[in-house]
Every structure is written in structure tokens, then in C-alpha cells.
Amino acid sequence: MYVPDFLAYGGLLMVSLQRSQTDQKIPKLKLNPMTRRAKRDAFTFALFTFPNFLLLTVFVFWPIFYSLFLSFFKWDMIAPKKRFIGFENYRVMFNDPVFWLITRNTLILSVWVVVLKLAISLSLAMVMNRDLKGRSFYQAIIFSPTFTTSVAVAMVWRWILEPDYGLLRVFMRPFGIAPINWIESTTHSLPAVIIVLIWVGIGYDMVIFLAGLKNIPPELYDAGLVDGVSPMQEFIHITFPLLSPTTFFLTITGFISALKSFDIIAILTGGGPLNTSNVLVHFLYENAFRWFKTGYASALALLLFIVIMAITLVQNRLSKRWVHY
């Protein structure tokens, strides 16, 4: 599930660029709208884009409005009649301690995953950013979890984190750490999820950072060399500022996809124990398809939509101010 997500957001970041690009690249054609040619072209345009827009309308745009509609009703998805209850679902949501616990989990998880992933992958990219034997081999291995089925990955990790015979115990024992029952512990289940999500994600961030590093003109480092800067100064004054667009991109997209985590959590901990590792999307799934609280789940979905929309819009605004060198 990770793949389509980052594809989407890779494109998303190009949206802001797109506006200016469309204006520059294609000369605006002043066509007489009455010509037969223009009419025929308009018809072909409609024909070619119809399947895409039909599907987008039905399965992407319409669901926003339908979710909004459903969030005002009490419905179990089976009964022929939906009962209108106004803002009751939202009132229940904001008064539900479980909801707040889950919101807290989601935020804690997202922040830790993004921060640690960025730190590790940036260090890796900098270490790797030189002529090195076997570079593409390392890269291929570290990148591989990006593509592997998360259900299978989560199952392997469940077995790795198993307290008695799990692989992780081998590495904890030399440090004198007692076996931890990661999955069934209220304090360790969320960290377990964070570890796995970092494991899955560092390869992608690393590849993007490497691309960003490659884009820094080598002349700048030459200039630094002339001025005799220390490696630390080099990092603070050259590498990091010039990398800020990449870091910004990875922070935003990483945060959004962490907010939407589902697969790994569903298999690894199932949100348990006692919701201590439950997150928004998994809670939404449980409400909608296990407990059939359609209205309540729709309210949750709408909340997720608003949060992600807000982040995206803020990102569009801020990208011009934050990203500078």
C-alpha cells in the first residue's frame, strides 16, 4: 500500500509547479471556438478523458460529499433506513476518550516515524553519496521494503518481535535487556509499530535524499574547500540549506502517509492491546466494517480528510517561505 501513496504525493508536490508550467510550456492557442475542427477536438477531448473523470467522480470526489452526508446519520449499512441524528456522531467522537487516545497515538506515531526516518535516511544518504563499490547493491537492499507486501512484512516482524524465540531477543540479550513482549504490552506495542514503519520507509527517503544531494552543484563544495570550512560547517551552510526542498517534501509526504497507516498495524498489533497502538484509519475500519457504525466512521473519515487537506494547503503556502537557500 505504500507505493501508490508516495506516487500520489510525489505528483502532489508537482501540482504547485504545474500551474506555472502549463502556462509556459504550451503556448495558449487562440482558437475560434466556432470552427468545426475545434468542435471535433473538444469532442475527442471529452471522449478520451471521460473514463478517468467518470471513475474519479464516482469513487473519489463523490465519496467526500457522501461521507459528509452519512456523518449526520445513524446507520448500520444494512438497514434500509438511515436515522438522522444531526451532529450527534461528532459530539460522541469528541467526547470519546478512545477517540482521543487514538488521535494521540496517531500523532505520536507519525512524528516519531517521520523524525527518525529522516534522521536515519539522511545520514545514510550522506554516507553513501560518494563513489563506492557496491553502492547500488546497498541501495537495492535498503530500498526493498518499499515494494514488499506489507501484510507479509508485518507477519515476519510479529515473529521477529516474539518475546521468547524472536530474532530481536538475540540482539537485546548482549545488552542485558530482558525479553519484551512487544505485541501484547500496552507500553511497547506502539513503539513496535514505529520500528516497523521506520524499517519499511528509510529506503525511500534515502533514495530521495541521494537524488537531492546529487543536485547540489559540486562548485559549492569546491568554494567551501577554498575557504577552508570544516565538514560540520559544510553541512550546516551548504548541504542542509540546499537540501531543504527535499527535506520539506519528505516531511510532508511522510507525515501524511504515517497518518494513514493501516496495513502494518492491522497485522502487527491489530491496534491492541486496549487500543494502545490503534490509529485513526484502523479505528475507522473497525467502526465501519466490524461494528457497522457507518455514521460514526464517516465522521472519522471526514476528520481525516480535513486534517490531510489542511496539511496539504499549509504545505502549498509554506513551501515558498520555508524552502530557501
Binding site: 469513487f59 546497498y138 533514495v207 527535499t246
Partner: protein
């Protein structure tokens, strides 16, 4: 000639070559070990599985773990379901993307840019918001537990359209003009000129979409309730939840069933896949 004196200086980050390799080997192991652990577990006997400190490689390889795992659920059927849905999904999505990408790149239309922005807006919408509405739509259409139901809601394409459009635009416009002068219809220009030229990017796109669909868990989980309609990830998850407890060695063997096609694709095309990611990001 400053460039020659300094060469292509890359920052050295305090550390030598050997240390660099040590760091990278550490991380490669950290990422690779879980895969190795999965394989070695799948080959052990139950006694070796429940041993601490663990046995890194079993004395005698227990191949019949795989046949045992295969028989715990209709994995053959899951394979068929996964392949049918992923392949038809890829074909539909790429066709839809190619058609609309061509329209946005090469067909003159007054409101083209407006529609393009409308389409791009779809990127901002998290697919999770659509789970309930789409389920309701599909149950009204009686598409629950069908291939159509698994495939159709997710074949609209924004990113693919975007990517292909960029590529179509990079082709010299004289080629399209020549086609127009020769009286080629738009559809023929797309199939005979634009698409063949876009082959490299098309290949990567197909791989990405295929892997994405193969790995998808949440939607097939929701839209299938009958065992015979489940795709591999859902089937695998159900095996774990099933009442008959199976050992970790069988579970790992079953996980390998799911991963094998993805790993094969990755093994043969990882360079291309990684390059595509890097290239896309630089633009951002």
C-alpha cells in the same frame, strides 16, 4: 580551471571508506535480516523454530513446510485472484491514463487547464475517506465479492496521467503535427506515435501499478467476504486469524508465497524502479 584542481569534490563527512562500508553493511543487514529470518524459519522443523538462541540455518531443510502451508488455505485460488485483479487493473489503469494524458498533452481544448487542475485535486484526497461510500456503491451494484468490485474503484489514474502527459509533452511537437497533416486520427496518433515513444516510462509505470495492486490489502479486505474471492494479502491475513493454529514455520512459508512475485519483479527491475523514484523527486 578550478574544476580540474578540485575534481568533483563530494563532502567526506569525517569518515573513511572502510567505515562507510561498515555503516552500510550494518543497515543492509538490518533491512535484509528479516527477509532471511523469514526464509530460514520457513525451512525449520517445529523444534528448531522454538529454540533460543536461534538456529541460523536448519540442519535438514524441511521443504514440506511449504506444501503444508499451501494446504492451510486455497492459495492456488488466491494466486489466481491476485493475478487476475492486478493484471486487469494494470491494463485498465494504464489505458485510462494514456487516453487522458494524450488528451491533456495533445488535444486543443479551451478548458483543458481547468480540467487538469480538477484532476490533480484528486491527489489530495486520501483514499480512506472513500472506503464506506465505495462499499455502499458496490453493494448497490451487487459487486461485492466480484473481480469488478476489487478492480474498478481503483483504476482511475491521476499520477499515471500526469507522468505520461509530461512525457508526451517532451516529444517534439513536429511529430504530432506530421501525424495531423497525414490525417491520422487522435486515437491512431496515440497508439502509433505517442505510446511507442513513451515505452521506457510506460514500463516503469506498469511495474509500479502492478506492485501497488498486488500489495493492496485494505480494499480487497473490505470488498471480499467469501474465501474464494480473496486476494493473496487478505488470504494470508486470514490464515493467521484462522482457528486452526499453524506454526510460525508455516506462516513464514505462506508469507513467502505472497512475496515471491514481488521479489522477482524487484530483483529484475530494481535499478529502473529506484531511478524513477529519484527522478520524480528531483522535480519536486
Amino acid at each position: 580551471m578550478a574544476r580540474i584542481v578540485f575534481g568533483k569534490k563530494r563532502p567526506s563527512w569525517f569518515i573513511g571508506r572502510t567505515f562507510t562500508h561498515l555503516v552500510l553493511i550494518f543497515f543492509a543487514l538490518a533491512v535484509g535480516l528479516p527477509f532471511f529470518w523469514m526464509l530460514t524459519t520457513a525451512l525449520k522443523n517445529p523444534v528448531e523454530v522454538a529454540t533460543f538462541p536461534p538456529i541460523w540455518w536448519p540442519k535438514t531443510i524441511k521443504w514440506d513446510n511449504f506444501s503444508k502451508a499451501w494446504s492451510t488455505a486455497p492459495f492456488g485460488r488466491f494466486y489466481i485472484n491476485s493475478f487476475v485483479t492486478a493484471i486487469t487493473g494494470v491494463l485498465l489503469e494504464v489505458s485510462i491514463a494514456a487516453l487522458s494524458a494524450y488528451a491533456f498533452a495533445c488535444i486543443r481544448f479551451k478548458y483543458r487547464d481547468f480540467f487538469f487542475l480538477v484532476m490533480l485535486a484528486a491527489l489530495m484526497i486520501p483514499s480512506q475517506i472513500a472506503l464506506i461510500p465505495n462499499y455502499v456503491i458496490l453493494s448497490k451494484l451487487k459487486w461485492i465479492n466480484t473481480y469488478k468490485g476489487i478492480v474498478i474503484p481503483y483504476v482511475s489514474s491521476v499520477f499515471g496521467t500526469f507522468l505520461l502527459r509530461q512525457y508526451f509533452l517532451s516529444v517534439p511537437s513536429s511529430l504530432y503535427e506530421a501525424a495531423e497533416i497525414d490525417g491520422l486520427s487522435h486515437f491512431k496518433t496515440l497508439t502509433y506515435i505517442a505510446l511507442p515513444l513513451a515505452k521506457p516510462v510506460l514500463g516503469t509505470l506498469v511495474l509500479y501499478i502492478f506492485i501497488g495492486k498486488w500489495n493492496n490489502y485494505l480494499w480487497p479486505l473490505i470488498v471480499t467476504t467469501k474465501q474464494r474471492m480473496r486476494t493473496l494479502p487478505v488470504g494470508l491475513a486470514m490464515v493467521r486469524d484462522a482457528e486452526y493454529a499453524i506454526g510460525p514455520e508455516h506462516l513464514m512459508a505462506a508469507a513467502i508465497f505472497v512475496l515471491v512475485p514481488v521479489l522477482i519483479v524487484y530483483f529484475f527491475s530494481q535499478r529502473k524502479l529506484i531511478e524513477a523514484i529519484a527522478a520524480g523527486a528531483v522535480k519536486g
